[in-house]
Amino acid sequence: MENELKNSVEYINNKVGKKTGFSAPTNYFDTLEDSILTKLAEENFGNKSAFKVPENYFDDLENNILQRISSEEKETKVISFKERIFKLIPIAAAASIILFIGLNAFVFNTIDELTLDSLSNNDIEYWLDTNTIHSTDISTVYEDDILEENEFLFTEIKDESIEDYINSIDNTSLLNELN
């Protein structure tokens, strides 16, 4: 029996080898610990959910839904084909007007708007060379945006804010400056 077994095992081994042919997805084993620990944690949550439904809710559910469906069916009106066509006429008219205006705006409007990008660098340089810019020009442009000195007055800052600021800054840097 021993020899017979040995021969048969050898036959299988020579023919097939010791490989099963099974493979596992790449990286499957790398994340296995996490999956198992997650599963363990999940089991501690328990299967019971805290939500409750009113008594007999599920018993009456079919009837409630069926009732709603049948009442909605009754309300549905039958519209004849003619009626439908008449209804479509004003919509079609409005649509064709909008289409006409739309086409005018997008297709027939071929005048390019001027932007800074549409000017060549040479043109800009030429303009800068031939025109002198006065400081008054600049000031009129920026007049409204410039900050007023008053905005920096310390009377406007609350004592608490100053205290907070002093508390929050690093003492050593202050000492260094004093030294």
């Binding site: 077994l5 299988i12 490989k19 099963t20 042919g21 997805p25 499957y28 620990l37 599963k39 089991e43």
Partner: protein, 182 residues
């Protein structure tokens, strides 16, 4: 690799249990996975069973009797979980467990996680024709190369009975391969 006795001590101590469990998974995941995979054949099922096995090990670690070997105890849980799993599947499909196994083996050709060639496929189909006990013994002896003593501890069967099972399994597989190839 940390030795079994120390690992069991850490696993049974609530303070070190979680960390030791991570070590346990890392040490045994591959061996248990392939053991389970050979029984349930499909990767997704093997993944399910493997996770259930580790959860069971974690829940029952305090009941583990230190006189037996940790790895045999874990192999035993993995084997039982696998067999329970395929029994359940067979029952859901209303077929006998051996029919279920043969059906499963015939789907291996199209399984993306089966990369074996023709002859390896024939061997898997041959194994699928065996009774479950012979399948287990063949897989553990031929592929996993476990000793009869170890298999005996895992399956709680006498060495004599195992030797007989293995003999029958090998003879049937040899015959199956011969009819399919020669």
């Amino acid at each position: 690799m940390i030795d079994e006795i120390t690992l069991v001590e850490q696993l049974q101590n609530p303070k070190t249990r979680d960390k030791a469990f991570g070590v346990l998974i890392t040490q045994y995941k591959q061996r248990l996975y392939w053991h389970i995979r050979k029984i349930v054949l499909v990767h997704d099922d093997a993944d399910d069973v493997l996770q259930n096995t580790f959860v069971k090990i974690f829940r029952n670690i305090n009941k583990f009797n230190r006189e037996s070997k940790l790895y045999s105890w874990m192999y035993r849980i993995a084997t039982n979980e696998s067999i329970t799993f395929i029994n359940k599947r067979a029952k859901e499909r209303n077929v006998d467990i051996s029919d279920y196994h043969e059906q499963l083996a015939s789907t291996l050709e199209s399984d993306v996680h089966f990369s074996g060639d023709e002859i390896q496929l024939i061997l898997q189909k041959a194994i699928a024709t065996l009774p479950v006990k012979q399948q287990l013994v063949f897989n553990m002896k031929y592929f996993e190369e476990l000793k009869y003593g170890q298999i005996s501890e895992i399956l709680e069967t006498s060495v004599g009975a195992l030797k007989a099972s293995y003999f029958h399994a090998v003879k049937k597989i040899e015959k199956y391969i011969k009819t399919k190839t020669d």
